[in-house]
Symmetry: C2
Subunit: 177 residues, 2 copies
C-alpha cells in the first residue's frame, strides 16, 4: 500500500446521527476492496443486535475486537467500564505501533474520552509521538473533544434530520445494526 503520496489520515466521524460508525464501515469496505490490512476496535460494549457488521467482518477476514470479548477487567480499583476502556486503548496502542495495519478503526472511542475514563491530552500526545505516518486512523462517536478535532485531518459531523423511531418504527436488522 506504500506510495510517495501516501499520508495517513486521522479521521473523526462525530455528531448525533446514525452514520458515524456506518461511514467508518463504508470506508473499511472501500479499504478492504484495495487490499488494505484493517483492524477494528469497538470501545463500547456491543449491543446484542449489532451483528450485521461483525458477521460481514468475519466473512471478509477483517480483524475485529469488541469490549465485550477482548477487554477483561484486571484492576480492582477501577470500575469495569473504565477498566475496559483502558484495556481497549492499550490494545489500540499495540495495534497502532505494530506496523501491521493500513487502517485502524477505533469505534466509539470518543466516549472514554468524554467520560474521562481516558485522558484526552495524554491520548493526543501519545498519538502525536507514535502514530505511523502512513497509518489511517478513524475515530467515531458523539461529542468528539475539541482538541482531538483540532489534531485530526478530516472531521465530519453526522446529524439526524428525521428518524423513524420517532414514528414508532423499530430498528431494522441489516440496516441499523
Amino acid at each position: 500500500m506504500s506510495s510517495n503520496n501516501r499520508k495517513g489520515l486521522l479521521i473523526i466521524n462525530t455528531g448525533n446521527g446514525k452514520g458515524k460508525s456506518t461511514a467508518a464501515f463504508g470506508t473499511l469496505l472501500r479499504a478492504w476492496g484495495r487490499g488494505f490490512r484493517i483492524c477494528v476496535i469497538q470501545f463500547i460494549k456491543s449491543e446484542t443486535g449489532k451483528w450485521g457488521e461483525i458477521k460481514a467482518a468475519e466473512k471478509l477476514g477483517i480483524e475485529w475486537h469488541t469490549s465485550g470479548d477482548g477487554f477483561t477487567s484486571r484492576s480492582k480499583d477501577l470500575d469495569e467500564t473504565t477498566a475496559r476502556a483502558r484495556q481497549g486503548w492499550k490494545l489500540a496502542q499495540e495495534k497502532i505501533v505494530s506496523a501491521n495495519y493500513d487502517l485502524i478503526v477505533l469505534d466509539e472511542f470518543t466516549y472514554p474520552l468524554k467520560y474521562g475514563w481516558l485522558d484526552t491530552t495524554t491520548v493526543i500526545d501519545w498519538l502525536k509521538a507514535n502514530r505511523p505516518s502512513e497509518l489511517h486512523l478513524i475515530i467515531t462517536g458523539r461529542s468528539a473533544p475539541v482538541d482531538l478535532m483540532e489534531y485530526a485531518d478530516l472531521v465530519t459531523e453526522m446529524n439526524v434530520i428525521k428518524h423513524p423511531y420517532a414514528q414508532g418504527v423499530k430498528g431494522q436488522p441489516g440496516i441499523e445494526f
Copy 2:
C-alpha cells in the same frame, strides 16, 4: 429476510460532507453480513479513482451499476447527462419492483432531481405507488429535495467540519475513493 417486524425504510444521506455514500456502503456491508440481496446504482458518472468500493462489491458479489457502463444514451433530443439519469432511473424502477432485492442504493440520486433531469414529484409519486413495503432504499447526495426528505423515514445530514484538502493533502486511495 422476511419477518413480521420488517418495514422497508427509505433512507436519505445528504449534506456537504464526505460520508454520504460512505455511510451507504457501510449499511450495505452490514446488510451483506446478514445475507441481504443488494443492488447499487450510481447516478453520477464514476470518477476514475472511485475504485475501492467497486472492487469490494465485485469481491462480495454485490450487483453494482454505474452511469459509466450501464446507461447508454438512446435519445437524440436530450443531452447525454439527462439521458443517463433517465436510463438510470428506469433501471432503478425495474430493480425496485422486481422483488429481487432487500436493499437498493441509489447513489448520488439527488443530483438528477436537483438539476431537473428527473421530476421530483413524479419520482416520489412513483415510489409511493410502487415501492415494496419490505424493501430498504437508500438515496445519497447533496441538496436532497425537501419533499423527498418529507417522504423519507430516516434522514441524516453529513457536514464537513475539517477537511485535509484545505491543508493541501491529496485524496487518499482506499480511504476517500
